[in-house]
């Protein structure tokens, strides 16, 4: 199976280990992973600000880079959601519709498409607080949201449970947004920082050594908060744990 790998701009620039872990993990699972070299961004940041005209160029470039793939995988819930549900600043040609349909967030892809049932190379003997980003939780619905009256399910927990040594700890508000919110983090900085402080303190008080998420953007914000607060807590992307990274 051949997949196109989309690495969001901030992962490319600041957290390449997440991209590397994603690629290596998919290769371990027997896939041919191709990273189109001229990719940049999915257009989400501009679109979420209402600036459709400004999003169009990035969206068109995304389709140009990825239209030849049957599966496009990205270690970012918010990007996958944007492509599938909001990539409409450009005319909806057959290529565009195909790319939109074929884009998966990593956990979705591992759980629903590959149906991975073991990660024998992985071991992570730490207490982890799982942060389900709002994009994966309420948009892509990869786990039960606490507001909804339905039976419990969680794709990330299913996957992480297969990792030796993992211990889950639960914060008091597991589903509350951490306050990143894209440009919200800059334009509504006071509230964003307060939300981030509350989130990391909650995980810390629950005993988490690591906070793990499928969205590095949330973790980037939480890490920034934790470091300024001087909290002894670490941050890691789910791809890294599943790939067998030790810390």
């Amino acid at each position: 199976m051949r997949v196109g790998l989309f690495i969001p701009c901030y992962v490319d620039a600041f957290f390449p280990a997440v991209g590397i872990a994603t690629l290596q993990l998919l290769e371990r699972l027997g896939l041919e992973v191709v990273y189109p070299l001229d990719q940049t961004c999915c257009g989400q940041m501009m679109a979420n600000s209402g600036a459709q005209k400004d999003a169009a160029g990035a969206e068109a470039l995304f389709v140009k880079n990825f239209h030849a793939f049957e599966y496009i995988v990205t270690p970012s819930g918010s990007c996958a959601y944007h492509v599938r549900e909001h990539m409409d600043a450009i005319p909806q040609t057959a290529d565009v519709q195909k790319v939109r349909r074929s884009t998966y967030e990593l956990v979705e892809f591992l759980h629903d498409v590959l149906k991975v049932d073991a990660f024998p190379w992985a071991e992570f003997p730490h207490k982890i607080g799982l942060h389900n980003s709002c994009s994966t939780l309420r948009k892509l619905r990869t786990a039960k949201a606490s507001e909804i009256d339905e039976p419990f399910f969680s794709k990330p927990v299913n996957l992480l449970s297969k990792v030796r040594g993992i211990e889950f700890v639960t914060p008091s508000r597991p589903d509350e947004c951490c306050g990143f919110g894209g440009t919200f983090a800059v334009f509504e900085e006071p509230v964003s920082a307060k939300m981030g402080y509350d989130k990391v303190a909650d995980h810390h008080n629950a005993g988490a050594d690591y906070i793990v998420s499928a969205d590095m953007s949330c973790l980037m914000h939480q890490q920034g908060c934790a470091e300024r607060l001087g909290l002894d807590i670490r941050f890691i992307h789910i791809a890294q744990i599943l790939n067998g990274d030790r810390a």
């Binding site: 490319d12 620039a13 940049t40 940041m45 309420r138 009256d149």
Partner: protein, 458 residues
């Protein structure tokens, strides 16, 4: 009209640590209570679907249902008035009161009368208006609007209430006992119920089948306002209509569970006809609702039953307080309604959101709030209402991210800057991210350059 700066107001709110932390804890507690009630009813999600469908059907046939409501209400002996806008509403209410020589009006909670700014209008014409709900009374005496549609003074602590009551209604200064404060409001409000010539309520639901309307309270102040004075005036937004009495089963089961986490309010009162010897006036109000009905992406907001669950769950609302929105309606429902009143003044509000979607999940009538927030941002950008800095930032980002070479140049410049600039150059007033957070460290190499070194064949 000056644009509301939510972020700045929020900053002040967060700085008052004890107040903000109480506010957040109290409303989160209401959210948890709501969850317990919701999960206690196996048919909860089915009720939400029914409520949403009933409302969507009714709004699409609203004119017919309004006419039916009016016909029945009049046959019951009620007077029915129609107000196109806030000014007309206020004038109608004043004319009813003036014709009967009424000088004192006791009223229960009504967001519609807040929206119409009715109280100052009447007070300027020498009619005393007494808010009788405890939270609303606190806010009236403090000359502040309500901050939450269900718990109007949730942003205040007991010391604040004590100070207000000592200043205005003769409470003992420094006595912060909550029982004492509540008793003081009860004791000083009671005489108004007895001597007011008129009482006013809003309505949670108006049933077209019977021409009746329903008011839900916990204090019983709506029932006092309506059943002691001879004259009862009810202000009702046209979107409150539901077709049949049996539909109330669905809405009443959802309302208080969503708002306060209790199965029902202490008083669920149904008014169909005036008391013998009394008079009942109903004022049906448009004030922009018909306009909103025609908005393809936004008419769903008219389903709202004013439960406040979206405010309780919203992490931004809990940390900034209702007053930071500068509008009658705050929180998630506010940010999708307010731009229809004034897109310039409220153009920032849809950005006071992380688009996390929790509001949509708790809404008993399934309004797709977070999706409407997203769509509003497009309208605001199209109407050129984005602040200059953001507009330019998006234009620049759009250009760079549309071009692989520009993108790579920007990434390497950023990396170099973060690596080499001294701390004071990065963390200063120009960099909001860095006010309360550390920036990420620039790595040895980008993913792309790692890929080129380790995987790319060329």
């Amino acid at each position: 009209m000056k644009r509301i700066d939510h972020a700045e107001a929020a900053s002040g709110f967060i700085a008052a640590k004890a107040h903000q932390e109480f506010h957040d804890r109290r409303l989160w507690d209401l959210r948890l209570k709501r969850d317990r009630e919701a999960h206690g009813i196996p048919e909860w999600e089915e009720l939400r679907n029914l409520a949403s469908q009933i409302k969507e059907h009714t709004l699409a046939r609203l004119a017919d249902y309004l006419e039916e409501f009016e016909t029945r209400a009049k046959a019951n002996g009620a007077h029915v008035h129609w107000a196109r806008d806030a000014a007309e509403h206020n004038q109608i209410v004043y004319d009813i009161l003036a014709a009967r020589g009424a000088k004192t009006l006791v009223k229960s909670k009504s967001m519609l009368t807040e929206e119409c700014d009715m109280r100052p209008f009447l007070e300027r014409r020498n009619i005393a208006v007494i808010e009788t709900d405890l939270g609303e009374r606190i806010q009236q005496l403090d000359d502040e609007p309500p901050s939450h549609i269900v718990v109007p003074a949730v942003h205040k602590l007991r010391g604040d209430v004590s100070a207000v009551f000592a200043r205005t209604i003769g409470a003992e200064p420094g006595n912060e006992d909550i029982n004492y404060l509540a008793e003081t409001q009860r004791r000083t409000t009671r005489p108004y119920f007895l001597r007011a010539e008129a009482g006013m309520t809003g309505a949670n639901f108006a049933v077209s089948e019977t021409g009746s309307f329903v008011v839900c309270t916990n204090e019983g102040n709506a029932d006092l306002s309506a059943n002691v004075p001879k004259l009862h005036i009810a202000s009702i937004g046209i979107e409150k209509i539901i077709p049949k009495v049996e539909h109330l089963g669905v809405f009443i089961r959802l309302l208080s569970r969503s708002a306060l986490g209790s199965p029902i309010t202490q008083y669920t009162s149904h008014f169909r006809a005036p008391r013998l010897g009394g008079e009942l006036h109903i004022v049906l109000v448009d004030n922009g609702r018909s306009e909103r009905l025609g908005m393809h992406d936004f008419w769903y907001s008219l389903k709202c039953i004013r439960c406040g669950a979206c405010m309780n769950t919203c992490p931004v609302y809990r940390r900034s307080g209702g007053l930071s929105y500068g509008a009658t309606y705050s929180g998630p429902i506010g940010v999708i309604i307010d731009p229809t009143f004034d897109i310039r003044k409220y153009g920032n509000l849809p950005f006071a959101s992380t688009l996390n979607g929790s509001c949509t999940d708790v809404c008993p009538v399934k309004i797709n709030i977070h999706e409407q927030i997203y769509k509003w941002r497009q309208i605001i950008a199209e109407r050129n209402q984005l602040p200059f800095v953001k507009k330019e930032m998006m234009r620049l980002a759009g250009k760079v991210l549309a071009d692989p070479r520009l993108y790579r140049a920007a990434i390497s410049a950023t990396g170099l800057a973060l690596e080499h600039l001294p701390r004071f150059a990065i963390y200063n007033f120009l960099n909001p991210w860095g006010r309360q957070r550390e920036l990420p460290q620039p790595p040895q190499q980008t993913f792309r350059s790692w890929y080129l070194e380790n995987r790319s064949r060329s």
